[in-house]
């Protein structure tokens, strides 16, 4: 449905260049959930924003293409599409966005109902009357597990979980085929987080829409996503179905990341951290970006950027050492 190939995004501010997204390719099919896991500053939010054209003016897409198939079966190149057409046809209708920190994403002076009405009204072709809009919002609220009485509440009258649910309702308002959710549960308490994650997976099945979930919390991805991409320094280091990523990660960074997640269900577990810290994206990186922190690195890792090695139809990793090991043995 959406396929992204060789995407590059950089931020330019005078002489400073930040290479935020480098050579990212992935695709997502109808009804599939993709989790993108990465540490702060790895370019995951930039990538999401570039899909929705929400990059600030200093951010530029410098290469790659994005192909998208709409619900009516129309194929389009998202990057070539004029801005007006994108806003009219794609935004909210086809792809919607749940921004990071739901707490601060709602307008405090309008009721949540008004804010969803705004989305419905913007898209005039839906041509709904006031009553129909209201009914639609009630429907959306019960879909995400909110009391329809809450439509006339102001954001400050809602708890964190309720605000998050109303944002999900807003994202669903026009039946999009793809929802991009940036850290949907990060600021929430465990019980609410559990309920929201469950709702997300249920809605995916119920409505058949796809989701890209961007988070640093690998455990919540394990619960909701079919496929996982591990991102580091603007690159996808490993891409596979989530069972493989969590039970048998190939890339040394994926391994390190999985080992550093505490699991409450294990009696004895040693949390291990990865030494060092992620590289600055301001400088051009020679070789593999993970090399300085990698225990398995060899001479070639300093010299050359590893290319993707395919392990299946849709799965790959980027690592010289693992590639060499698997081809020789």
């Amino acid at each position: 449905m959406l396929s992204i190939t060789d995407l590059y995004v950089r931020y330019e501010d005078g002489e400073n260049i930040v290479r935020a997204v480098n050579d990212v390719s992935f695709k997502i099919d109808q009804g599939e959930n993709l989790g993108i896991i990465g540490e702060s500053g790895c370019g995951k939010t930039t990538m999401a924003k570039s899909i929705l054209r929400l990059l600030p003016s200093s951010g530029k897409i410098t290469g790659g293409r994005m192909d998208f198939i709409t619900q009516t079966g129309e194929e389009c190149n998202l990057m070539k599409m004029p801005k007006k057409k994108f806003n009219r046809k794609i935004r909210w209708n086809e792809i919607s966005y749940i921004p990071q920190s739901a707490m601060n994403s709602l307008n405090p002076v309008y009721t949540v109902g008004d804010q969803i009405t705004e989305v419905l009204r913007e898209k005039r072709e839906s041509g709904l009357t006031r009553k129909e809009m209201r009914r639609r919002i009630e429907e959306l609220f019960s879909l995400v597990g909110l009391d329809p009485k809450r439509i006339d509440s102001y954001p400050h009258q809602l708890s964190g979980g309720m605000k998050q649910r109303s944002l999900i309702a807003m994202a669903l308002a026009l039946d999009p085929s793809l929802i991009v959710a940036d850290e949907p549960t990060t600021a929430l308490d465990v019980i609410v987080q559990f309920q929201i994650l469950k709702k997300i997976s249920e809605l995916g099945e119920q409505l058949g829409c796809s989701m890209i979930i961007i988070t640093h919390d690998a455990a919540s991805v394990a619960e909701t996503c079919d496929n996982v991409a591990i991102m580091y320094a603007g690159m996808i280091m490993e891409y596979d179905i989530s069972e493989n990523i969590f039970s048998a990660p190939r890339h040394p960074y994926s391994k390190g990341l999985i080992n550093s997640i505490p699991n409450i269900k294990l009696a004895e577990q040693k949390m291990v951290s990865i030494p060092g810290s992620p590289p600055s994206l301001r400088k051009e990186i020679q070789g593999c970006p993970f090399q300085p922190r990698c225990e398995e690195s060899e001479a070639i890792c300093k010299e050359e950027l590893p290319a993707s090695t395919n392990t299946g139809e849709d799965s790959f990793y980027r690592c010289h050492v693992v590639a060499k090991r698997s081809s020789s043995g």
Partner: protein, 337 residues
């Protein structure tokens, strides 16, 4: 020997401000912490856990003496610290240090790493001479694995999140404290470096400085890996307390059960139990006529609506097979069952 003993501590906040209402009316109160007891042995570690708004941070602040308790007392080294003032308070401040949640926000952006650590020494009048101070600061930097030659002149914006948090720890330990209160020490940090910060406190600094640690966190899986004992709080009250491993893997209180089964598990094949809990967290003014968790409790029975359960040691009742010290505040667990 207990270093810290918290006895029946309560903290109330006034919700409605306004002088006249305060004088004449019955001001609306929020009971953030409601009769909390716990003891922390010298060299041990204790965790306060619960959702936001459960009073865990307020409890930490009471221990730090950043708030005055409404009721109850806090014993530190067998001395009541609730009414300390002046010189005695200053000496208490040296012995108890806090590590805050957000290292980026907690550091003064215009102070170098050296200055940040030195500030505490200046404020509390430790180490008189310049040379002595310098030595102390450099030693603290080394202890938190920040090479003094590289880091002493750096400003916070030049440091990564992990380095900022190390610096915060450095400025806490330079005063040679006995007790460290760590409020969500790793929740703002990336997953891949969390373990290194916790290891620094637990495996390096604790044996070296003989530290006692009070952790405050909502992250149960992290707590399970660092603390000996844990208390689960709900609406200002402790609902379950005991050995961390036991409380978190074999919980008895319905709230602890809900909390532990909701924690995401990094395993795609893991099947969660159905979550029975209803509604969401509310507030309390400290009513005693029913269990605080009753409105959300899936197992609630008649008695829960009539009486507030007290903490009861469950190791005595044979069917539970829990270790001594495991206490639960629930009518359904304990003597009656």
């Amino acid at each position: 020997m207990p270093l810290l003993k918290v006895e029946g501590i309560t903290k109330e906040f006034f919700l409605s401000s306004g002088f006249l209402r305060f004088v004449f009316g019955n001001p609306e109160k929020l009971r953030a912490v409601d009769h909390v007891d716990f003891t922390l042995d010298k060299g041990g570690s204790f965790g306060l856990a619960g959702e936001s708004g459960c009073g865990k941070t307020t409890t930490g602040k009471l221990v730090m003496k950043l708030h005055e308790p409404t009721e109850g007392r806090i014993m530190f080294n067998d001395r009541d610290i609730t009414n300390l003032a002046g010189k005695e308070l200053k000496s208490y401040r040296k012995k108890v240090q806090m590590i805050f949640q957000d290292p980026y926000e907690s550091l003064n952006p215009r102070l170098s790493a050296f200055g940040t650590i030195k500030e505490g020494l200046d404020a509390l009048g430790i180490a008189q001479t310049k040379k002595e101070k310098r030595e102390n600061v450099l030693r603290a930097l080394e202890q938190v694995n920040l090479d003094p030659d590289d880091y002493k002149d750096k400003l916070p914006f030049e440091l990564s999140g992990g380095e900022c948090q190390r610096l915060m720890i450095g400025s806490a330990i330079v005063l040679n404290p006995e007790l460290i209160v760590a409020d969500e020490p790793v929740s703002m940090l990336d997953v891949s470096i969390r373990a290194s910060i916790l290891d620094l406190i637990e495996d390096v600094l604790t044996p070296e400085l003989n530290l006692t640690r009070l952790y405050i966190s909502h992250d149960l899986s992290v707590l399970k890996h660092v603390v000996d004992n844990v208390a689960i709080m709900y609406l200002g009250r402790v609902v379950e307390v005991g050995k961390a491993v036991e409380v978190l893997s074999k919980p008895l209180h319905p709230y602890t059960k809900a909390l532990t089964s909701a924690v995401p598990v990094p395993d795609p094949n893991y099947q969660h139990e159905e979550l029975q809990i209803k509604g969401s967290i509310s507030t309390t003014g400290g009513e005693r006529d029913r269990c605080i968790f009753e409105p959300r409790c899936p197992e609630a029975v008649e008695v829960c609506k009539r009486r507030l359960p007290e903490l009861v040691d469950v190791s005595k009742s044979t069917e539970n097979e829990r270790e001594v010290g495991h206490q639960v505040a629930c009518h359904l667990v304990g003597e009656e069952s």
